[in-house]
Amino acid sequence: MTTVVSLVVVALLLWLALWTVVARDAFLAVAGFVVYGLLLALVWVRLAGIDVALTEAAIGGGLTGALLLGAVGRLRGTEAATWAERSGPGMRAFAALLSLAVSAVLALCVLLLPEPAPTLAPLVVPNLPATGVANPITGVLLAFRALDTLLEAIVLVIALIGVWSLAPDRFWGGRPGPRYSADPNGILAYLARVLPPMGIVIGIYLFWAGADHPGGKFQSATILAAMWMLVQMAGLADAPRIDNRWVRVGIVAGPLLFIAIGALGLPTAGAFLGYPPEWAKPMILAIEVALLPTLVLVLALLLNGAPARDDAAQARSNPR
């Protein structure tokens, strides 16, 4: 029975991927990709990765889908022109052969994997009680492989700087994206008033539950960022100016506190990012609490994109 379910999921996944890649229309391709992301979350459930499934559904399907859908809308006019540049039949045949060869080599590697499979689980389980958290994924993310998580937070901040730096000079410091307006009595504005309180509770629950159950700051931050985007898209609030001091402080506060707590590990536990045993849980919690607002801000602002309007500069150039 479970094999049948897996086979159906695999068949759907491959069909959707193929359809997304060959679809004529970019909008259809992106819509297919969103469904693909949700289907991928099912794959993670079958592969016993509930935490990964939550992240995939929230970020892989949700945020990436929203980002690509927004881009499709603004790229509409350029699609027909590039279609003329599509590869000829010879190139397509070559690409198909190359892709088949890559897949075949990978599949061969999969079939020749060593038995028994190498695993770090026997090292994680006996050491997990020392961290004070019961969810092994959270333990790995914030204790055993904390350096990865720190670098990831820094990568996110660098990505945001990269997106911002693509703004035209005249808009630097302004607000990103278009100013959304929606019917104040419409369904979108209604949902943007009703959903955020629930979304915030669910987000904070996922964050808190992440210590002992599937969940954690990434999944939680995505839901909170989505709620913020919903309020923006309904026209109830505007995106922040990127030269807003508090926005910038919020963005760097998480990684800086992470580094500070990591440095605290040098004298107390003898290693960068080490935790003295009796302080492990409070220190992990402090890092999580500090990272959450940073992640919410960075994820939402990455979705907002580069600054594209500057009310203050417009007011300066037209004083009357």
Partner: protein, 108 residues
Amino acid sequence: MSVETLFALAACALVGIGLYGLIVQPHPLRKLVAFNIMGSGVFVLFGALAKRGAAAGLAADPVPQALLITAIVVAFAATAVTVALLLRLIEVADSASLAEEPPARERT
């Protein structure tokens, strides 16, 4: 065939499908979607390896799974930077063409 082998083989196919789209599709946004499919194939392969590592009472090896969460978030950040680059390209060049000689067009 076990679940993890089935999904690992599907992941190999996903990498191939994504690579094909990356080469064949002319529009940069379509290349980006194809690249994301290729990346997800790598993630699923890694996840299947994590499932193979089930031991010590855990259903899967938590270390690769934690790295996967990191990978998904970083992939989103990279996609966001690419989309911003793409929108800027169109603003500046008025075309999404990646050809070496962009189509002749009157610049104002």
